[in-house]
Every structure is written in C-alpha cells, then in structure tokens.
C-alpha cells in the first residue's frame, strides 16, 4: 500500500422510491480505499453491499453524498463521461460472469479495448497476455458456452483488466462457482492484488473475504465495522 487515496465515498446515501415510503438501501456510508488495497465488503443479503459497489463503480448515482475515484467526482459525471470513466478506470466482475455468448474468450476481452479505441493488433496482443495471466492461454478461441464456470469467471476478470483500470470492483465473483473453481478465482484475486491492483469485492464467501486485507461489514445500509486483516506471507 502506498498511501495514495484511490477511491473515496463520503456520506453516500441511496434511496429507491417505492410506493409508500422510500427504501434506504445505503445510509451515509463513508469509505476510503488506498492504492493497492484489497477490500471485502460483507454483510447479510439486502444490507446494501451491491448497491454500494454500484455507487462506487459509477453505474448508479447516490441520492446524497459523493464518490470520487482517482480524484474525479464520478457521482456527478454526466452519463457519457461516466461511461467513458468506467471504461478506462474501473474493472467490473459480476457474479454471473456476463460474457457475450457470441464472442470468443479473446474477443470478450478485446471488447472494452475496442471501445477504448485500441488497434486490432494492440487488442489481440493484450488479450493474449491477459488470457495467459488468468491461465487460459489455450482457450482463447472458445466461446463462453464451451468454458466451465470458473474459466468464464477468469475470462471476465481478464476482461475487467483489459483497459488497465485504477480499481477492480467485483460483485460476488465466486457466487456461482463451486469450492474448487472458487478457490482458483480467490487465488487469482490474491495474485492481482499482490501485483498492485486495488480491489473492492462484495461477497458472502468467507474464504474470499478472508483473502482480503480489509473487511468492511455492512448492516442495514450502514458500515458497522471496518477491520484490517494481517497480510499473510
């Protein structure tokens, strides 16, 4: 950890209008994440973890409060700029992988790079490097349907890394995986963090949370405990 602030949420609220009274999904969360940190956000279902992650990743806007990443106030960016910011600064990993079924593993990884305007040769080279990094160098031409769940999630992680993001946000990345393939993903996140990637992960998985260096506990839309774990060898 270098001590540089990468992600900052200040008094973030998120209310959803519902007939009758609004639902307060996130209630005044403040959170600072430094460069190179590996943060797990844990808590019971419906406590607001995923909502908070969406707010941190600029795919949702807080009702109140602010979120900044690398000094940019993402919570106030217009849609077009927020989209561009997500493309170039944030890597997303979802529980259900969400790879495009019509594209091969390599093409899925190339997609964000294509959007960012990289040339075909640059895209292909980086996609191959990333596939090698996640241990799927031989599966480049396979479609998602031809890959196991663990392999699909590793491709999704490689896709999230395509544009060299500032921070990697993951929402239950092991939620759809069995213990063995989940362990592969946990190991990959660990390696990524050791290589310097800032990671914020939302999880129910105790093993994944245990692999993080910091665990933020949420309950009813609030942070109730923020604990730092000892770095393992």
């Amino acid at each position: 950890m270098t001590g540089q602030l990468v992600l900052s949420a200040t008094d973030v609220h998120r209310d959803y209008p519902l007939s009758g009274s609004p639902v307060h999904a996130v209630r005044g969360v403040s959170l600072d994440v430094m460069r190179g940190e590996y943060v797990a956000i844990v808590g019971p279902s419906g406590c607001g973890k995923s909502t908070l992650l969406n707010l941190l990743g600029a795919i949702d806007r807080p009702t109140r409060g602010s979120v900044s990443i690398g000094g940019t106030a993402v919570s106030t960016l217009p849609d077009r700029e927020a989209t561009r910011f997500r493309l170039t600064h944030i890597g997303f990993v979802f529980q259900r992988f969400y790879l495009l079924p019509v594209l091969s593993a390599q093409e899925n990884i190339e997609l964000p790079m294509s959007e960012a305007g990289l040339s075909a040769s640059e895209r292909q080279q980086r996609a191959k490097e990333l596939l090698g990094y996640v241990g799927l160098g031989e599966r480049a031409r396979h479609r998602p349907a031809e890959l196991s769940g663990g392999e699909q999630q590793r491709v999704a992680i490689a896709r999230a890394l395509a544009n060299k993001p500032t921070v990697l946000l993951a929402d239950e990345p092991t939620g759809e995986l069995d213990a063995s393939t989940g362990a592969d993903v946990i190991a990959l996140f660990d390696r990524l963090n050791r290589d310097g990637m800032t990671i914020v992960v939302v999880t129910h998985d105790e093993k994944l949370a245990g692999a993080a260096r910091r665990v933020v506990h949420m309950l009813d839309g609030r942070v109730v405990r923020d604990e730092r774990l000892l770095r393992r060898a």
Binding site: I59, F92, L100
Partner: protein
Amino acid sequence: MRLQLAGRSLRRNVSRTLLATLGVAVSAAMLLDMVMLATGMRESFASLLGRNGFTIRVSPRGTLPFDSEATIGQGADAAAAIAGVPGVTAVAPVLGATIHVLGSGPAVTAFALGIDPAVQGDYELLDGAEPTAPDAVVASDAFLRATNAHIGDTIDVAVGFDPQLRTYQGRRRLVVSGRAHFVYLSADDRAAALQLGTVQAMAGRERADRVSLFMVRTAPNVDPEVARAAIERALPRVTALSTAAAIAEAERRLSYFRQLAFILGAVSLIVGFLLVSTIITVSVNERVGEIAVMRAIGVSRWHIVQQITIEGVALSLTGAVAGLLLGIVTARYLNSILRGFPGLPDAIDFFLFQPSAAFRALGLLVASGIIAGIYPSWRAASLPISGTLREEAVG
C-alpha cells in the same frame, strides 16, 4: 467489432433471422411490385406513344385514334394543311380497314393499315422489305401463321364481304414483302400494312381519299401544344391530341391503379417496418442483461444503439436484396398474365422495372429498418444499469 457483434447476434438464432429475412423479402417484393405497377403502365404507354418521335395524333372530331370507324375526308388536303402548320416536320396518314385473306380454306380476317412507308410509325420491320410497291404488304407473325404465308408469297386479299351475295369486294393480289412488329397491337393480332393508296382503292368510293388518323411529328424546339392548337384551327373537323395530353388522359384513367399501388406499397412498407421492429425488440429484450453489462464495462449508449441498428439494417438490406429478385420474378409472372388480355398493345407493360424508383422504394425499406432498430436499442441502452443487472440476477 460492432459489425462482427451484430452479425454474430443475428446468427445466434438462425431460424428466426432467416424467417425474418424472408418476411422482409416478401414485404420488399410486394413494395417493389406496387412501385412497378404504379409507374409501369404510364411509363410504357408514354414510351409507346413517343416512339418514332410522333407528338400529335389527329383524328375525326370528337374521337380518339381508332376509337370509332369515323374517318377524315379529303385526306390529301388535310395532310397538306397539317404539313403547313409551323413546326410540323412530318405527317403520317393512316387508314384502318378490315381485310380478308382468301385461300383454299376459310378466309382469314385481319386488320390492315394503309400507311405511307416513308413516314409511318405503326410497325417495325423485322424481316424483308418495306411495302414501297402498291401491291406489297408487310404482316405480323400472327397474320403469316394464320394465312400460312411467307415473305415473297402472293396472297389474295379483299376488303369487303357481301353476306347476301357471298362475294368479296375490293379484291387484290398482294405480295408479302416483309415481316413486321405492330407496336400498337398485341402479338396475337393478325395485322398487315400496305400503302395508303392501295387500301383506299380497295375500299372503293366509301374510303376514297379518307384517313382514319394522322400522326404528326413536330420540330424539337416547337411546343406540341402550340402546333396541336394550330392544327385544330386549320382543320375544324378534327381533334388533335398531343402525346403529353394523351399521357395525362391515360394517367387520369389509371389513377385508381396508382392509388391502389400506393396503398398496398405503404402497407408493405409498414409490415416490413413492424417485422424488423418486432424481431429487434424481441432480440433486445432477450439481451437486456448483456446490454447492461456492456454499459457497465464502458460501452457507450450510442455504440450499443449502432450495433443493434446494424442488425436491423442487415435484416432489411438482406430482405430488400432478396425482395428485389423475388419482386422482379413475381412482376414478370404477373405481367405475363395481364399482358394476355386481348387487344392490349404488345408494348404495354403493367409492371415496369425502373432502377431509380425500385432503389428508392427499397432504400425506404432499409431506412425503415434503421428506424425500427433505433427505438428498441435506445430503450434498452437507456435502462438503469444497476437495476437491470439486479433484475437479471434475480431472474
């Protein structure tokens, strides 16, 4: 990559894409046929009248050409008077008559045109020579087939038949000098053309110096309407009709055809639009999760709209190309049926393929494919990302 993605998305459900393309093709074919029908008769009628550069038809007062048996008397003087009108460059007299070709079997009845071979515009010589001699005749294929005559043969021809005496009048032996295509008659019409003087002589006193019709050419720099008015002033017993007026009259009479074609064409266009719109909407609804993820990882709304619109355009374009071929084949088939109507000039087409009109219509269909793709894709790309992903995760 958007093109690649659009192509593969269409191939994702091959049978649906093929059926949609087929539907668009049928719609495009219908649209094309309606465009061809809307303009076909008018254009081919205009082309028919404009052949050989004749711009004015002069017929007995109150009649249209060959509308009745009426004729113009003192034909030679009338021709001279028309030729004297400023701007007139040629006058082609025509006298119509029914002739009977006599042989060993029953007589063959045919339609004969007395013409001036030097300025006629009624036929195109296919084989042999013009009827420059008084006893020469050119005939249609149907005539030659019916009479079993060939070029060079001599045939016995009469103009009148007295049913009481059972005798033919105005008999004359003529030599078949050529084979011709009669542009204002149908292919099945038995027709012959010979010199005007010969027909007049064969028809006797009743038709002496009489003419059914004058076809008039005007100089390119002369307004045919001006010349037409001058002819009617010079010859009060005739009606002169310019080609433009004839076309306008035909257009007026055919207006219900155009209205029908316009309505059916519009319906085809709407059906094509709805088809593409439905297919794209269904396809987009199946992919809202994917679209939300693409938005989440930073793909712009506009690029998602572009990609899905490309799918709509690809469907419309493929359907339009297939529809072009299907429409032409269908039009040819329908044309062959409609042209079989007795008495229709061979040169009249109900369905006329005009590249500019056809491509405009198909361009309209492709444009409707673009519009059909924009709305569902924009709607999907505008869904809230987090809410959509949450619903997808639950669903």
